[in-house]
């Protein structure tokens, strides 16, 4: 406890004791990012049904702070590519990704979005990672909602390791 000449406390205030947390900017920003992901549901095939199931009460994606599905890319920071990406649709997926504000992340949900899946065809993009940077791949055809939640938790721990403050200063 440090006092000045008038005997007033200047270095320590007991009234705010216990209400101060010392942390780094990175940890604080990452904590905010990862617990409030706003997904853009890019539902293209049956994976989208599992994505809907993950949002509903039985699995409840809101436990992980990602329940605010935004159907506008400008309000979202997580692109969930759920389904088969045809080349014709790839144009739209890329455009939607480009419209999302930074920082943003991509989950490739299911076999088709990750690798083209069973569609070895002229019409299907062989994995969305040929067009966008993917953070988490989820296997399955389609993956169960638990798998999506697991992928989301892995994305959260990945976001936890990012140097977000440096990225903001750039």
């Amino acid at each position: 406890m440090v006092h000045n000449r008038e005997n007033q406390v200047i270095g320590y205030n007991s009234k705010i004791e216990g209400n101060v947390v010392m942390t780094t900017m990175d940890a604080a920003i990452n904590w905010i990012h990862k617990n409030s992901l706003w997904p853009m549901p890019m539902g293209l095939a049956c994976c989208a049904i599992e994505l809907m199931a993950a949002a509903s009460s039985r699995f409840d994606i809101s436990r992980f702070g990602a329940e605010v599905m935004r159907f506008s890319p400008r309000q979202s920071d997580l692109l969930v590519v759920a389904g088969t990406v045809t080349y014709k649709m790839a144009l739209a997926v890329k455009r939607i990704y480009d419209q999302m504000p930074n920082p943003k992340w991509v989950i490739a949900m299911g076999a088709c979005a990750s690798s083209g899946g069973m569609y070895r065809s002229y019409a299907v993009l062989q994995g969305i990672d040929r067009l966008l940077p993917v953070d988490v791949y989820i296997s399955g055809c389609p993956p169960r909602p638990e798998a999506l939640l697991d992928g989301l938790m892995r994305l959260q721990s990945k976001i936890g390791t990012e140097r977000s403050f440096l990225a903001q200063k750039k």
Partner: protein, 193 residues
């Protein structure tokens, strides 16, 4: 009016260019040897013979044969309750035939699909654009000489198409007595050298 009388009237109206195939499982098929008269034939079918519904138009690529393409029209008469199939052929050198949109409005999208997949032109079509692939795609993917895995191309606005990895495929199942022999096996469409 029975289908038999329809066929008799038609062969009188279109002498020298209609052939009746033998009836197969109750299905009647006509071959129109002059493809340029298909719109006239359709008009007669609709206006005089009660074929008020064009069920489908499809195309076949008989690659290696001449003429190469075959167009198949399925007509149905709700009034009389019978089908009629009309086939006509299109050669590779003269890859066009008259549109049926002047007779049946529904022919619009059927013909667009055939144009998109096989590149057959329909003269007089009001809006002959691709319907499944995007505008600017350079190939016709349902032709037999187009590989299943696709070909490379650039799409304007920054994306692309590339051949899909076949990993020894496509995997083909062939009839056999035992399940183990019916398992899908990798089989190249090209003859092995």
């Amino acid at each position: 009016m029975t289908l038999k009388t329809v066929l008799e009237t038609l062969s009188a109206q279109f002498p020298d260019c209609l052939t009746l195939l033998p009836e197969f499982r109750g299905e009647t098929t006509l071959i129109l040897t002059n493809k340029n008269r298909i719109a006239d034939l359709a008009m007669q079918l609709k206006m005089q013979h009660g074929f008020d519904y064009l069920v489908d138009i499809s195309s076949i690529d008989n690659f290696g044969q001449e003429p190469r393409y075959e167009i198949v029209y399925e007509f149905y008469s709700y009034k009389n309750g019978y089908y009629l199939r009309v086939k006509t052929v299109v050669s590779e050198e003269d890859i066009q035939l008259p549109t049926l949109t002047t007779v049946y409005a529904t022919a619009n999208w059927h013909e667009r699909e055939i144009y998109d997949m096989m590149g057959i032109q329909f003269t007089g079509h009001p809006d002959l654009r691709r319907i499944l692939m995007w505008d600017g795609y350079p190939y016709f993917p349902l032709r037999k000489d187009f590989p299943l895995e696709g070909l490379s191309s650039e799409i304007p606005n920054g994306t692309f198409t590339a051949p899909a990895p076949m990993e020894g495929g496509p995997f083909v199942t062939e009839p056999a007595a035992h399940t183990s022999e019916r398992e899908p096996r990798s089989k190249s469409p090209l003859p092995q050298s």
